[in-house]
Symmetry: C2
Subunit: 293 residues, 2 copies
């Protein structure tokens, strides 16, 4: 089989590496709007060749869309228009509602699998790609009944060979959950970073005082705005709700802080300690590659 990965960044590039490892593909092509990224992807051995979009679609048995979610919504219907009848397409976007909606009535909807491999680091571009990114992680597939059997099977097998367990879920449920466990974390991290940058303008030595705790909470503030702005836009309703709840928790904490209700602060933290339970269900994903940055 031949695969074409559209968007050879952290996710697309890492997936290309996994596809190569699986030995099911004789050729892996890349399509990228950045010529520089295309060149890097070939040099790094992520893909064999960089092609224009039309040629990439023409040669592919499998097409992977690993581009920002607004670009997926724009491009996916065109991709399904252009592919050969047996070609399979799947995406890797962090939202699923708008993407599924964009091709709901498409005559080739069956060739598409709406996927979200939940994996990533704060880094982006082809140089951020690495083997084992997906190891032990969860992949979500939405509207599985809309996908043809062969396409669903291939996508599931590919993610399985990359070390992922696939779970099925409806797009709306996916977007609601991800607002809390992923998108909100990114917002909190970006704005924590901004708050500290603000004060740093007047306090030159503040960076010296930042420890590992700060580094951990603001790590995601290094993430790509081009990737995240469209995710936030598409998941606006659920993210806004999550953000509102978060802000209310912060305000309640501030109230008790100012009132000197230290025992209340203690109880709030004690409850939050429960998060250990959730975290223990998370595969350890802070790996070597992440730590380099």
């Amino acid at each position: 089989m031949k695969a074409t990965v559209i968007g050879i960044g952290l996710i697309g590039g890492s997936l290309a590496l996994e596809m190569r490892k699986s030995k099911r593909f004789t050729e892996i092509y890349g399509v990228d709007e950045s010529a520089e990224h295309g060149k890097q992807a070939v040099q790094l051995g992520l893909v064999d060749e960089v092609l224009p979009l039309s040629e990439g679609l023409n040669r592919a048995d499998v097409v992977v869309l690993a581009i920002p979610v607004n670009a997926i919504v724009r491009m996916l219907p065109q991709v399904l228009d252009s592919i050969h009848p047996q070609t399979m397409v799947f995406d890797t976007g962090s939202t699923k509602g708008a993407i599924c909606k964009s091709v709901k009535q498409h005559p080739n909807r069956g060739r598409f699998v709406a996927a979200h491999p939940i994996a990533g680091t704060e880094n982006s571009g082809p140089t951020a790609a690495f083997n084992s990114l997906f190891q032990g992680k969860v992949n979500i597939v939405c509207e599985k009944e809309m996908s043809d059997e062969d396409a669903l099977q291939l996508a599931t097998q590919l993610f399985a060979s990359a070390g992922m367990r696939t779970v099925f879920m409806e797009p709306d449920e996916h977007d609601r959950h991800l607002a809390y466990v992923s998108h909100l974390s990114h917002v909190s991290s970006f704005l924590l970073g901004q708050t500290v940058l603000d004060i740093e303008q007047n306090e030159k030595h503040i960076s010296m005082l930042a420890g590992s705790g700060f580094a951990s909470t603001v790590r995601l503030a290094k993430s790509s705005p081009a990737m995240w702005a469209p995710i936030f836009e598409q998941n606006r309703e659920y993210l806004s709700q999550a953000l509102q709840e978060y802000i209310l928790h912060l305000q309640r904490f501030q109230y008790h802080l100012m009132k000197g209700n230290t025992h209340e602060l203690y109880n709030i933290m004690l409850q939050a300690n429960e998060i250990r339970r959730i975290l223990n269900g998370i595969p350890n994903t802070i790996n070597e590659k992440t730590l380099v940055s």
Copy 2:
């Protein structure tokens, strides 16, 4: 020399290990209000022997206070009352204003060094202690002119042998800076954890969806309430200010989110990306030990 470490947890225990490594101490004693922790500290080889407070103070040339900051404020004056004239005392508390104030007029103030080694993990207790916790980190000493020369020198040397660079700062400046780069991170993490726990009560499978980003931002939510409640209480004014600024940033983000001003969201994130610069100034402190949890 003989040292007594009061509070043999993550910080006290790790410091005891460093003191042992430095070979300047013939005996290292521990004092802990938890008999269980005392026993563990001996078993783990952190200290040679656990003593009652009075005996620990009687035998020590150096006393380290590594207990919650409210306990330091309460205990430090008594410790300075009880020590031999040549004994040196230093603390490791994450606030400095209230601690320095508690002994400002004490006749033995010179024997005390107000220190804050900026290091830690989200774990606590003797089992959380480990060698190399302090490697490459910064130690803050406040009101250095109030400490006797020999005490200041010994403290600085000890922290240096543990791999730390000592920086001098006034207590007020310390507390203001730490509100932003440390205490606020903890608050944001605790309440992010709480927000997700809230929704999880109704959504049983949410933990499955949490990825490495979430794990990173809520790692600090596992921290000890007994340690953090008094820190927040003592640094109430500055922390409340930092928290207010953070909330305003979040609210502005939510406004643009709801208005569909995606370009504004993009710009906010692009600005926040600047945090890379600050993070690059931070020693890499997410080490093996931290990753285990």
